[in-house]
Symmetry: C2
Subunit: 429 residues, 2 copies
C-alpha cells in the first residue's frame, strides 16, 4: 500500500467517514508485512479512538488480523473444543479451575492466554509459580498437551494473528488501548485463530475491571459475541461483577493455591459461582448435555483436580511441589467493628502489583510469592483490630507503596448487607 | 524522555487535558533528538487534531521548535528587517514583488520560503523558472544577498527549527496538517528562527485557500500574531480573499512574467491592491515613515524592479534571460455572453497543477512553463466563444485532466457586479 493511500484512509476516518472492508484488509495486511509504517498506523488508531469503528469495520479488522497468520484446526481432537476469555480482573483465577473442569466433563480446552500488565495479573504468570511449568509451547506441544490432559493453558505463538500482536504493542505505547472496537477485535482475532469452536467471554464490570461501567462492558460483550459468531465460533458472554476481588487470593502462587482448593470442591462462594456459570455456558455451547449437578460433582470428586495435575505434568510442571512462600507478611486490621461493606478491587490489585505480583513493563519479572489475601470480604463480620487483609512480599521495602494503595480501600458498616450474585447477565448472539 | 512519559502525555491530550509548557518542550526536544519515535508523535498529533491546543500550549510548542535549532540574528544589517508570509493561494506571486519593493524603500527582507505541494504552488518553484536562479543558499550566502540586494528569497536551511521540519513531514503523511495551532506554530517557528524583526502575514480566505472559512482564517491569523508578538517579532496579519486567482497568471514562469509587469507598474488591479496593502503594513511595522504615494512610485519608477534584478543576479540568476515558453496551448471559451461572475481559484489551481506547474509528491519536478492564464476575471465582460482561460503545458496529454478540473469553474451572468476589495481585514496584537 502506497503512503498516499494510507494517508487517505487516515483522513477519511479522522473526518468521521467509513473505511470499506477491502481497504481495511489491504491496510492491515500491508502493516503486517511492514509496508505501512507504525507512524501512519498510530495516527489511524488515534482517529479510531475518537471516531470509532462500526460493526462492518470491526469485522473487517478482525478478519484481517486473523488472516495475517495461521488459523489452527483442532477438529481432529474428537471432542468439542471450547475456550473462555476474561477481560481481566483482580483475583481472577477462573481459567485455572475452568480448563481442567471442562476437560473432565468431555470438552477439549485450548486456552491461549497472556501475561499480566498492570493491576489485573495474568494467567500464565500464576501458573508459572508452579515449579517447572512451561507456558511457551510450540503448536505441536500444545496439541500433545490437549490430547493428553484435555486442556492446555499456554502463550499464543507468533504465528497466530501477528498483525494483532504488532498492533497491540503499538496501542500500548500510543494511548490507544481503551477503545471498544479495538479491544474486541484484538481479543477475538486471537481466539478465532486458535481454532476453538466454542467460546465464552467473561466480561468484567466494575472498579477492578478495564470497563468500569456496565454499558461499555455490555457493548464490548455484544461486539465480541457478534465477531465470534460471524467467524463461525459459537460465542456467548457473561457480564460479571469486579468491584471486589474474586475469591480471597490475589497474586500468583496464592491464586494457584486457591485454585487447587476450588478444584477440590472447597473454593470460596463467589469464585465457585462464576466458575460454574461459565462452565454451564461452555457446556451448553459445546452441546455437552450432562446430568444436573455434574459440574459440582466434578469439582467435589477429584475429576477436575486430576485433569489439572495432568495438564501441569504435560507442561513440564510438578503438581506436587510446594508453592513459593513469601518471607515477609503484614496484616491490615479493621479500624472499627461491623460488616465489610466494600473491598475495592482496584486498590487490592494495585497493592498486589506493588508487592511484586505484577509488572510495570513487559520486560519485568514477577514475584511468584507476592500477593494479598482477603481475610474478610464483603458482607463478612469483623471486630475492630482483627485483620482484613494479609500482604505478602519477597521485598520488605514494597510494603509502604502497597499500603499506600490500600488507603480507603475497605469500608466497614454496622449492618451487613445480603450477598449478591457476581453474574450480572448473559449475552448470546 | 522515556516511552512511558510520552504515552502519559498522549493520554492526557487524548482525554482533553492540558500539557504544561515544560512537558511540551521536553517532548519536542526529545523528538528532535530522535529519542521519541514518530509513532508516538503521530498519535499525539492526531489527539491534538481532535482536542486542540490552547494559547499556552501553542506558545510552548512554537518555542520548543524554535529552540530545536538556531535563531538567526540579522541585527547587523543596519536596516529594519521585515518579512511577509502567505498561507498560500492560487496565483499568489506577491512575494516576488513585495520583497524587492520593500528593499527599494529601505527595509531588508529575509524571505525564507517553501516549495509548493498541491494546488497552491510555491514561491521557490516560481523563481527557479529564471535561468540560473538558486534557492538553496547557505546562511552566509543569504546574508550576502541581503546586504547586496536588500532582499533574498531562499529555502530555509536545515538549522532553522529542525523539529518543525520533522514534524511537518510527519503531519503530511498522517493527515494531521489541517489543525490551526499546528499550522500556526509551524509557520511561526520558522519565521521567528529566521531572525526578522517584523512580520506581516497574508492569511487567505476562500475556495482556493487552505482556510475556506473566514472564521478559521481569523483564528489562525490571531494565533500567529500572538505567537510572533510573544517571541519579540512585531507581527500583524491581513485577511485577503482567495476565491479567484490573484492576478491573471497561475503557474511558474507565467507568474514571474506577471510579477515583472507589476514591478514595472503595470500589474493587474487585484495583485497591486494586495501588494500595496501588505507593503504599507510592513512599512508601518518597520517604522519606515515614508511620504504618501511612495509605494506606488517605487513600482512605477523602476526602483523595485531594479532591486528584483539585483536579487536575481545575487542568487545566480539571469534577469535578462527569456522565460521558458510552453509549446502546447489551448483555450477555454465562454459558453455564453455576459460578465464573469465567478472564476474558481481551487479549480484553476488544480488545472495548473495538472498541467505540470505543481507536484503530487515532494520528489516530483515541476514544469517551469506550464500554467493557466485568466484572460477574463470576475466582473469582466466576455462574448460567447471568446476565450476565458488559456492553458499551457509541456505535455499535451495533460490537457484532459486539467480541463476536467475546470468543469463548472466559470460562471457567466448577464449583469456585471461591482469589483470588491481583496482585503477583508487586518489583525494586530
Amino acid at each position: 500500500m502506497a503512503p498516499l493511500e494510507a494517508v487517505d484512509l487516515i483522513r477519511r476516518k479522522r473526518d468521521g467517514g467509513k473505511l470499506d472492508a477491502a481497504a481495511i484488509e489491504a491496510l492491515v495486511g500491508a502493516y503486517a508485512r511492514d509496508e505501512v509504517p507504525d507512524y501512519q498506523m498510530s495516527a489511524l488508531l488515534m482517529a479510531v479512538f475518537f471516531r470509532g469503528l462500526d460493526a462492518e469495520e470491526t469485522r473487517a479488522l478482525t478478519k484481517a488480523m486473523v488472516d495475517s497468520g495461521e488459523r489452527l484446526d483442532l477438529g481432529d481432537l474428537g471432542r468439542p473444543t471450547v475456550d473462555k476469555h476474561s477481560t481481566g480482573g483482580v483475583g481472577d483465577k477462573v481459567s485455572l479451575v475452568l480448563a481442567p473442569l471442562l476437560a473432565s466433563l468431555g470438552a477439549a480446552v485450548p486456552q491461549l492466554s497472556g501475561r499480566g500488565l498492570g493491576h489485573t495479573g495474568g494467567t500464565l504468570d500464576k501458573l508459572e509459580a508452579i515449579k517447572g511449568f512451561r507456558s511457551d509451547l510450540s503448536a505441536e506441544e500444545m496439541r500433545r498437551v490437549l490430547r493428553e490432559a484435555g486442556c492446555v493453558i499456554c502463550a499464543a505463538g507468533p504465528s497466530l494473528a501477528p498483525a494483532d500482536r504488532r498492533l497491540y504493542r503499538l496501542r500500548d505505547v500510543t494511548a490507544t488501548v481503551d477503545c471498544i472496537p479495538l479491544i474486541a477485535s484484538s481479543i477475538m482475532s486471537k481466539k478465532i485463530a486458535e481454532g476453538t469452536s466454542c467460546l465464552v467471554l467473561d466480561v468484567k464490570v466494575g472498579r477492578g475491571a478495564f470497563m468500569a461501567g456496565e454499558e461499555d462492558a455490555r457493548r464490548l460483550a455484544e461486539t465480541m459475541v457478534a465477531l465470534g459468531t460471524e467467524h463461525g465460533v459459537k460465542t456467548s458472554a457473561l457480564l460479571t461483577r469486579m468491584d471486589e476481588p474474586l475469591g480471597r487470593a490475589v497474586g500468583n502462587a496464592v491464586e494457584v493455591a486457591e485454585s487447587l482448593e476450588t478444584l477440590a470442591g472447597k473454593g470460596p462462594a463467589d469464585l465457585v459461582e462464576v466458575t460454574r456459570a461459565l462452565a454451564e455456558e461452555m457446556l451448553r455451547l459445546a452441546g455437552l448435555d450432562l446430568p444436573r449437578g455434574e459440574v459440582a460433582a466434578a469439582l467435589e470428586d477429584g475429576r477436575a483436580l486430576e485433569r489439572f495435575s495432568a495438564m501441569v505434568r504435560a507442561q513440564g510442571g510438578d503438581p506436587g511441589a510446594d508453592l513459593p512462600e513469601a518471607p515477609f507478611r503484614r496484616e491490615l486490621a479493621a479500624g472499627s467493628s461491623g460488616y465489610v461493606a466494600r473491598l475495592d478491587a482496584l486498590a487490592v490489585g494495585t497493592a498486589a502489583w506493588r508487592l511484586g505480583a505484577g509488572r510495570a513493563k513487559k520486560e519485568d519479572d514477577v514475584s511468584a510469592a507476592a500477593g494479598v489475601l482477603c481475610l474478610r470480604k464483603r458482607g463478612e463480620k469483623v471486630e475492630k483490630g482483627e485483620p482484613v487483609l494479609e500482604l505478602r512480599t519477597e521485598d520488605e521495602a514494597r510494603f509502604e507503596g502497597a499500603l499506600g494503595a490500600l488507603a480507603g480501600a475497605v469500608d466497614i458498616r454496622p449492618d451487613g448487607e445480603p450477598a449478591r450474585s457476581r453474574v450480572i447477565g448473559v449475552i448470546r448472539p
